[in-house]
Structure formats: structure tokens, C-alpha cells
Amino acid sequence: MQWELMEVTNLVTICSLRNVAVKNSNGILGKRINMEIHNGDIIGLISENAAADRIMQAICGFYKPRAGRIWYSHSLRHGKGKPSKIQYVPDDIICYRDLTVEEFLVAASITAGEAAAKEQTRLCSQFGINIKKKLLEISYEQNRLVAYILAMSLQPDILLINRPTSLLSNNAFLMVCKELVELHNKGTAIIMAESSFENLKFPCGNYHFIASDEIRSYTRKSLPKPGKVVSLVGGTIHPEDMERCRILYGSRRLTKFVCHEQDRNNLIVMIYRTGCRDFSVENLTMKEEIYQDYSRWIG
């Protein structure tokens, strides 16, 4: 599906992270993290550990980073008793026991005002949520949608979404995406955290891959295309196998091949794995591609 995302011309930095380090009880998750958030940005934060979650929590102020600073623009200032300009959608359901959707949204509109209440009503009917039911009686998907509704109705400047597709079906996520596009077109910066690139189903302008001691950033255009790995019979490679492989994949230029030995014939790269009866071609994940991690095939 193609999204009609408006190009934001005059980018203004509204938040920036400088040498931020985050950790949890298991240790350091990421350090020396530098990042700029502009109005209208769509950023994907990808980390296998919980670094992306932690960074989000640090941006919205739940968590104090172990090192570094986070700077906010004056435009993110909100009046006392007014909704925050930074909205966070956790990856889990809303666990308020004995509270109906309606009561939850009414409570929100006490702070957020009439405009937000109208927006909430519109989104609830659009997403097909029964507001009379209790939060823990509706489905997981609907519960998560309520969290989205709350965050989106408050018209934030920065919207942080932890695992956007979690608990959502494709249809539900499509509905959310339409609203996200509208928010983005109004200038909201959207930041999404995922554990793998493959799960990030919304097109982002910038991608940050966070590992324990580094952060690699790519724009949508500079993002490397995932490669493929050819696994062949172990021991000495039979020339016929090589030829078949070259004809099938190399000559078609489907994609690049990776390996630890340099090129033979037209195959750029090959990885040998013992015990295979024939060669096979497998996709690299984005993480494996970016970090050149071939441990699935070697060793």
C-alpha cells in the first residue's frame, strides 16, 4: 500500500538526544545514542533488546537515562494540567480493572477538553469500539486501539509508539495507519519502536538500528536492500552445483549474494554449510544485513 505522506519542507528540531545511554536490570542496552527529532519526522527505532523502548521512555520522561542529555524545544511545553505534547502508546493493553472504555475516555477528556472528546468519539465509531464495555472485557486488539485513540486525539507534537503492530490485525493496523498519516501531515513527529525491521510495516523517513554500543542510522533511500545467502553442500564444492547456483540466481541478478570467501565465477559471495544435500537460498534479515551477521550459516 502506498501512503500519501507529505514532504515536510522546513524542518525544525523539536527534540534531540545527545550521547544518551540506556540500561535495564540486565545491563547496558545502548550507549552514545545521538538522535534528532524534527517536526513531521517518521522515525523507526529498531533494537533487538529493549533499547528502543527505553529511549522512548526517556523521551517522554518515565525513565532517566544513565548518561547523556535530552533537549526539548519550547514548543513541547504544555500548560499545567494540560495533556502532554509528547504522547506515548505502550505495547501492552490498558489494564485498568473495572473501568469502561467510556469512563476511561471521559476521564481523559476532563483534562483534554471538548475537542479531544469529539475526536475520541469519531475514532471510536471508526474503529468500531463498544464504549460501554469494560477495558478488560473487550478484545486485546480493541484495547490497544483505545490507547491509540487516546494518544491520537490529543494532537501531540511527538507520538511515540512502542511496537505499532503488537496485538493488532492487519485491518486494524491499516485503520491506525490512515490516522497516523493524517497526524503526520499535520506536522506530528511519529517514532516507532520495533524489535526487527521486518515488523516495522509503516514507511519511515529515518531508521535507527540500535545495538549495545552503536547506533546506525539510515534514511529510507540509503537503507540497504536485504541480501540472500546461498548455502551449499559442505566440504569441497562441486562445480556443477556452483554452476547451477550461478545460473539460477547470479545471472538473474535477483539480489546480491554474501559469503566469507571472495568471488568465484559470477557469484559474489558464498557461504558453505556442511551437511546440505543441495544448495538453498535464504533471505537475510535486515539486522543480519546491517550488522553482517552470518552466524546462522557459519559456526
Partner: protein, 286 residues
């Protein structure tokens, strides 16, 4: 603050109202039943006339001719314990639940600070507790007026007033417990344990005294039991440790103890607040 109070009321309205109603209904039904019993079976009250040892143990001033007064004395022996436990448990668990179920982000989204959440929950519980104390007092005031027991009006007034103040102290304990149990699932057991331990410690002297009285009644001489009475007298000092005990009729609370209680409550609140905010940052709103 309104948002948090609204959510808390919406979630706990049944529980809070039930406790309030049960309290009112209990006193009311006790009054009606005792009134009927006094009319229909007047000898019932005298049949239940406990010996002095048990009267002392159960905090009776003197055995009243009205069965309701005696029932009231029996009730208040355990009543503050139950209500204060419900108060502590409700307050502590509502704080822990916000952490446990990770509902704080939604409050943060609405621009509500942790401090506001805490104060709102405290205000709601205080109002509820005040309502229970006031309603119970007013109800008993009417009943004692009807029974023409003017002395009991003063006693019950002092009792419910002191119960409210004890509740304030216990709330600070509950807050400290909640702050220390933020990563745990529930802190109701801890609250119950704290209340039970201090209650039993404070009543230890009366158990020993009761035991000595029983031994005396069974034929032992006073000389043989002197050490037991002495021990009971010494343990009576422990009464001062129990906030529940402070509100009992006849219990004198020295001003030094009140000052100590205020200082301890302040220390618990400050300590609890620091622990509560340990891993958190105030949103840098600039």
C-alpha cells in the same frame, strides 16, 4: 487531579460504597436487634454479663444496662483494625497497581504527574475514611441519644476522632509500604501483617493479665502469680506502639507519643516519596 479521582471513583465506587454502607447497616441493625432483645428478652443482657477480667480485656468501662452499648464496646475492639486495614490496603494497592499494570503512561499522556496521582489517591481515601468516621459517629450519636447514654456520646466522639487521626498515621505507613513494594504484585499482606503485629504486641499485656486472672480464679495464690501480673504491667507499655490502640476508650496517649508519631509519619512520607520517585524523572517541560 480530577481525572485521577474520577478514574479511582469509577473503578472503586462499588467497594468504597459497600464498606461505607456495611458500616452504617451494621450499627443500625445492631441497634435494632439489641433494642428488640432488650424489650423481648430483658434477661439476655445480664446473661452476657462478662466477669471483670474479660471486661478489662475487652475494654469495657462498665457493663451497661443497654445491650447496644455492650455490643458497641465489643464492636470497637476490632472495628478500627478492619477499617484502618481497608484504608491502608486500598491506598497502598492503588499506588502499586499503577506501576504493576503500567497505567502511568496514560496519566503522563494527560499531563498528570506522579505527585498528582499520589495526592489524588490520598485525598480520595481520606475523604472516604472521614465519611466513615463521621457517619458512624452521627449514627451512634443518634442511637445513644435515643438510649439516653450521654456519657457514651463523648466516648464514641473521642473514639471516632482518634480513629481518624490513627488512620492518618497508618496512611503514611501504607504509603511507605507501597513505595517499597512497587515491583511486587500486592502489598495487602504486608499491610495486614504490620497491623496484626502491632495490634498483638499492644494487646500482649492483656492476654497475660487475662491468663493470670484465670489462674487466680482456678485457685492459685496472688503471691504465686505476682511475677505474671508484674510482667503484664510492664508489657502494658507496648500499648503505645499500636496506632489502633490509641483510639480505644480510656487509652491515654501522651503528647510525646503524638509528637513521635508525627515525626515518624513525616519520615515515612519523605522516605516513601524518595523511593517512589527513585527511577523516575520529572518531565523536563522546557
Amino acid at each position: 487531579m480530577n481525572t485521577v479521582i474520577y478514574i479511582d471513583i469509577a473503578r472503586n465506587k462499588k467497594r468504597l460504597l459497600h464498606i461505607l454502607l456495611y458500616t452504617v447497616i451494621f450499627f443500625f441493625s445492631a441497634f435494632i436487634v439489641s433494642l428488640l432483645a432488650d424489650k423481648i428478652v430483658p434477661s439476655l443482657n445480664t446473661h452476657f454479663n462478662f466477669p471483670n477480667a474479660i471486661c478489662n480485656y475487652l475494654l469495657f468501662y462498665e457493663w451497661s444496662k443497654h445491650l447496644y452499648v455492650n455490643i458497641w464496646y465489643l464492636t470497637i475492639f476490632i472495628f478500627p483494625m478492619i477499617i484502618i486495614f481497608l484504608l491502608m490496603e486500598g491506598f497502598a494497592c492503588s499506588i502499586v497497581e499503577e506501576e504493576e499494570f503500567e497505567t502511568l503512561p496514560y496519566m503522563r499522556n494527560l499531563g498528570i504527574e506522579r505527585k498528582t496521582i499520589l495526592i489524588s489517591k490520598l485525598v480520595l481515601r481520606l475523604v472516604w475514611f472521614l465519611a466513615i468516621c463521621l457517619l458512624s459517629f452521627l449514627e451512634n450519636l443518634i442511637f445513644f441519644l435515643l438510649l439516653n447514654e450521654k456519657k457514651m456520646i463523648l466516648i464514641s466522639g473521642a473514639f471516632f476522632g482518634k480513629m481518624f487521626l490513627s488512620g492518618l498515621f497508618c496512611l503514611s505507613v501504607a504509603f511507605f509500604v507501597a513505595a517499597c513494594s512497587l515491583r511486587e504484585k500486592s502489598c495487602s499482606k504486608t499491610c495486614l501483617l504490620i497491623l496484626l503485629i502491632q495490634f498483638l504486641l499492644a494487646r500482649l499485656y492483656s492476654y497475660i493479665g487475662l491468663m493470670a486472672d484465670c489462674l487466680f480464679a482456678s485457685g492459685k495464690t496472688y503471691n504465686e502469680l505476682e511475677w505474671l501480673y508484674g510482667l503484664s504491667g510492664k508489657l502494658a507499655v507496648l500499648r503505645i506502639l499500636s496506632p489502633v490502640q490509641w483510639c480505644y476508650p480510656g487509652q491515654q496517649v501522651p503528647i510525646a507519643v503524638v509528637i513521635c508519631a508525627v515525626v515518624i509519619a513525616a519520615v515515612l512520607c519523605v522516605g516513601g516519596y524518595s523511593i517512589y520517585n527513585k527511577d523516575q524523572v520529572v518531565f523536563r517541560n522546557q
